[in-house]
Symmetry: C2
Subunit: 464 residues, 2 copies
C-alpha cells in the first residue's frame, strides 16, 4: 500500500509521520515537496530575518534524512504537476534534474499549503520587494540586507506578518513605515485594540499609514554607475511617496488549490479545498489538510479558511491517521479562529467571534472590556492588559474574546478552552483559576468579564 | 434591615460590598474586623517583608474610609466575642477602648478566616520567631529585620508560604535554610516537581532539610551585656542545630471557627464551617464564607478546605448577594483545588486531583508528563516547563494537572477551565489555543498531553 503526500511543511509532514506510525511496515509513505526545505516553522520566519533566530536549521523541525530514519521518504525540490485520480497516478517534476516522471498512489494526501498574495501594482517585481512565506524567501531577504544595507523599509499590509516584519526590520535598525489599505492595522481586531497596536508601533518608531493603498513601487531614477537601477526606491499611495530601500509585502495569503481543482477536487466557498470532518475530499482515497483546506468555525458553524501552523499540524494528524487506516478513525472538529501575535513587547490575541461576526452568525452579542494587570497591581513589573469578552445575551454562551497587552496568551487560551467546551459566562464566574500575586490579579480578567456579562444575560438579575 | 459581617479581609469585605450593592439603602451593613487592617492581600505579604512591595498601603485594597463612601461601615480593632443566634445579638469588644458592647443583626455573615498554626515546640515564642498571616505580622518582621539585621534565617515548613518566604528572606541577603517535616518540599505536588523545586531552592543558595521535624528553638546562650538573651539563635531537629537569627514558621493554617461553633454552627469533617452551596450555615439568617468554611472539590465530590484569597473573594460574592436578598440567588459550585506559587524564577502550579487523590476518589488515573518550552524551541529565551496531566482511563475525563517551570500559570489555567467544563482528554486534542513562536510551542503541552492520554482511554486506539 502506497501513500503519497503532496506538500512537506506542517500538515504534510505531520500527516506522513502519523500515517507511517499507524500504517507500519505495510505502508510506503512518500512526500513530495517543491521547496528545498521541509518541515519548517513558517511562523518563525520574521525572527530569522532579523537574526533573532540565528540559524536557519533552527526553523527546520526535521530534515529529509531524519524522516528517512522514520521510514518516510521526503523528496524535496519535487513538484507534483498533475494528479490523475482515475488512474491514481501523479506527474512529478524533479526541479533539480529538470525532468518529469510518473508515480502512482493507493492513497493520497494533498497538503499544498498557501502562498503569498502578490501586490498587483507596477514595480512589485523590482529588486528589493519581497514576500515572506518560506525559508528561501527569508534567505533572500537576509542576503539583500547584507548586500544593500537598506536603511528605510516599507511594509505593505498591517496584518500579522506585516506587523511582525515591521518589528523585525526595526530591530535591524531600519526606519520602518507600515502602509495599510484599510482603516486600521490588525484589522481583524476591534477599534480599541487596533488603536493600541498603532500607538505601540509608533512608540517604537514605526510610522503607520492607514487607508493607504499602495499604488506603485518605483526604482531609483538614477542608480550610480548604472547599479541599482532596478532596485526599489519608493512606494507611492495617492500623493505620498515613501522612500524605501526594501519593501515587504504582507497583504495576505491564499490557498494553493490549482493542482487539486484540476484533478476534480471540490473547492468551497472560501476558495480552499472542501473536506469533511475526517479530512476526506470528494475524490476517493484522497484526503487533504493544512493551509489548502477549508474547515468550520465551531461557534458560528460557518465555513472558514485560515493558514496557521498549529491548525495545520492538527489536521495533518487526522488526515494521516485516516489515510493510513482507510477509515474515518479520527475527526477534526473545526476551529475557533484563535490567533495571536507579538509586536515589540505587546501581545495581541483573539479567539472565537468578534462582535460583528457574532451578529452575522445570528447571535445577540454583548461585550465587556476589562482593564487589568498581568500581575497583582502591587507586584513589581505589573503590566496592563485590555481584555474583551463577547457572549450571547440569550443563552449566555461565550462567543469570543480579544486582548491586547501583557499576558494575553493566557487570557485567550482560557477563553478558547471555555468556548471549546461550550461554556456560558455564568459558568466562568467561579472557575477555579490559579492565583498568586506574580501571576495575575486575584480575579482573572476572564472571571471579571464573565461576572459582568452573566448579569446581563436575558432574565438574569445578578449584577456584577 | 441590618447585616453584620464578622471579619474584614477578602471574603468579609467582598460580601459586605456586594450585599450593600444588592440591598441598597434598605440594608445597613456593618463589618467588624479584629485586626487594624482590612481588605488586605494576604498573598502579597512575603513580598512586603522583602520590600519588593515597598508600601503597606499597596496591599490594602480599600480603607474603612473608602468603604464608608460606599455605605459600608467597617469597624477595625473590633472583635466579636459572642454570637447569640436566638436573640440575634452579638457581643463586641472594642480593642482600642478596651470595652465591650452589644449589637444586633437581622442577617449575619461569618468570615472569620484562618490563622497560622503555631509550632508546638519549646522556644516557639522567642523573640525573632514569626508566623505570617497579616500585615501586622509583616510589620513586626520588617521591624525586627531593621533592628537586628539577621544574617541567618530558618524557615520551618516547605509549603507555599514557607517557600515564598525563603525566597524573600534570601532576597534580603540572608542565609536561608528550609526545614520540612515531611519527605519533600511542596508536599502537595508529585515527586518529580518537588525535586525540581528543591534543586531550584538550592541553586539559589537556600539549604533544604526534609524529614526534619523542628524539635526545639533556642535562644542565644549568652547575650552580650545581657541583650539578646531572649532572642532566637538556633533551630534543632534531631542532632542538627541550625543557627538562626530569624525563624519563620509556615507549617500551615487552620480555619477560625471557635466563635461560630460556640454559637451552634455546624463544623464539617475538614474542621471548617459547613455551608450549603448558597453559603448558608445551619443557623437561620447566618451565612459564612472564605477561609473559615469548607466547600466541595468538584472533581472528587469530597468536602475540602483551603484558604485562598481568590476563592474567598468568590464565596464572598455569593454569601453577600444571598444575605442581601435573603434568597438562594447565587450558588458557589465548589473548587478544583487550583493553586500556584513562585519560588525565585520558578513557577509551580496544580489544579484538580493528583494521581493519588484520583485513585482515592474512585477513578482509574492515567498520567503523562510532557517536557516543553514556554516559547517555540528556537525562539530566544525559551525556558523549559514540565507539565503533567491526569485523566480517567475509563471515561477519558481530565482530572488534574501539575506543572513546574516557565509559563505554568497558562497551562494550569487552561487545564482548570477544561476540568471545570467537564472535558475529556479527547476533547482537548484539537482545542484551538493561541500559537505564535513567542508564546509557546505549536502544540501546547496541554494538547500534547491530552493527545497521548486520549490514546490510552479504555477502548481507544488512537495512539499519540
Amino acid at each position: 500500500m502506497k501513500l503519497v503526500v503532496i506538500g512537506g511543511v506542517a500538515a504534510g509532514t505531520k500527516a506522513a509521520s502519523r500515517a507511517k506510525r499507524v500504517g507500519g511496515d505495510e505502508l510506503e509513505v512518500v512526500v513530495y515537496q517543491a521547496d528545498r526545505d521541509t518541515s519548517m516553522s513558517e511562523c518563525g520566519l520574521p525572527y530569522y530575518v532579523s537574526g533573532l533566530v540565528g540559524e536557519r536549521e533552527a526553523l527546520i523541525a526535521r530534515t529529509p534524512e531524519e524522516f528517512a530514519g522514520r521510514g518516510v521518504s521526503v523528496k524535496v525540490r519535487h513538484r507534483v504537476e498533475r494528479i490523475d485520480p482515475e488512474g491514481k497516478t501523479l506527474t512529478v517534476r524533479d526541479l533539480d534534474a529538470d525532468s518529469t516522471f510518473r508515480d502512482r498512489y493507493d492513497r493520497l494526501i494533498v497538503a499544498t499549503g498557501a502562498e503569498s498574495v502578490d501586490l498587483p501594482v507596477p514595480g512589485a517585481d523590482l529588486e528589493g520587494v519581497f514576500t515572506l512565506r518560506s525559508v528561501t524567501d527569508a534567505d533572500r531577504i537576509r542576503a539583500y540586507i547584507r548586500e544593500h544595507a537598506p536603511e528605510r523599509a516599507v511594509v505593505v499590509g498591517g496584518g500579522y506578518i506585516g506587523l511582525e516584519m515591521a518589528e523585525n526590520l526595526r530591530e535591524l535598525g531600519m526606519a520602518v513605515a507600515v502602509v495599510e489599505a484599510g482603516p486600521r492595522v490588525a484589522p481583524t481586531y476591534g477599534q480599541e485594540i487596533s488603536d493600541r497596536v498603532r500607538e505601540h508601533l509608533q512608540k517604537h518608531g514605526v510610522s503607520v499609514h492607514t487607508c493607504a493603498s499602495a499604488e506603485e513601487i518605483s526604482c531609483a531614477p538614477n542608480g550610480e554607475n548604472g547599479e541599482g537601477a532596478e532596485q526599489v526606491s519608493t512606494v507611492r499611495f495617492e500623493d505620498t511617496e515613501l522612500p524605501a530601500d526594501l519593501v515587504l509585502v504582507g497583504i495576505g495569503v491564499r490557498p494553493v488549490t490549482a493542482l487539486a481543482e484540476e484533478a476534480g477536487m471540490k473547492v468551497g466557498e472560501t476558495g480552499a479545498i472542501e473536506v469533511d470532518e475526517h479530512m476526506r475530499t470528494n475524490l476517493p482515497d484522497v484526503w487533504a489538510c493544512g493551509d489548502c483546506v477549508q474547515t468550520v468555525n465551531r461557534v458560528s458553524g460557518a465555513a472558514t479558511w485560515l493558514a496557521l501552523g498549529d491548525v495545520a499540524n492538527k489536521m495533518g494528524r487526522v488526515a494521516g491517521t485516516n489515510a493510513a487506516t482507510g477509515e474515518p478513525t479520527l475527526r477534526f472538529p473545526g476551529v475557533l479562529g484563535t490567533g495571536i501575535f507579538k509586536v515589540f513587547d505587546l501581545g495581541v490575541g483573539a479567539s472565537g467571534l468578534s462582535e460583528e461576526e457574532a451578529r452575522e452568525a445570528g447571535f445577540e452579542p454583548m461585550c465587556v472590556e476589562v482593564e487589568a494587570n498581568d500581575k497583582a497591581g502591587y507586584y513589581p513589573g505589573a503590566e496592563p492588559v485590555l481584555f474583551r469578552m463577547i457572549a450571547d445575551r440569550e443563552s449566555g454562551r461565550v462567543l469570543g474574546a480579544e486582548a491586547v497587552g501583557a499576558g494575553v496568551d493566557k487570557l485567550i487560551d482560557v477563553t478558547a478552552t471555555a468556548i471549546w467546551g461550550g461554556l456560558a459566562c455564568d459558568d466562568l464566574v467561579n472557575v477555579d483559576l490559579a492565583y498568586a500575586p506574580p501571576f495575575g490579579p486575584a480575579l482573572s480578567p476572564v472571571i471579571q468579564a464573565a461576572t459582568v456579562l452573566s448579569g446581563r444575560v436575558r432574565g438574569a438579575d445578578k449584577g456584577d
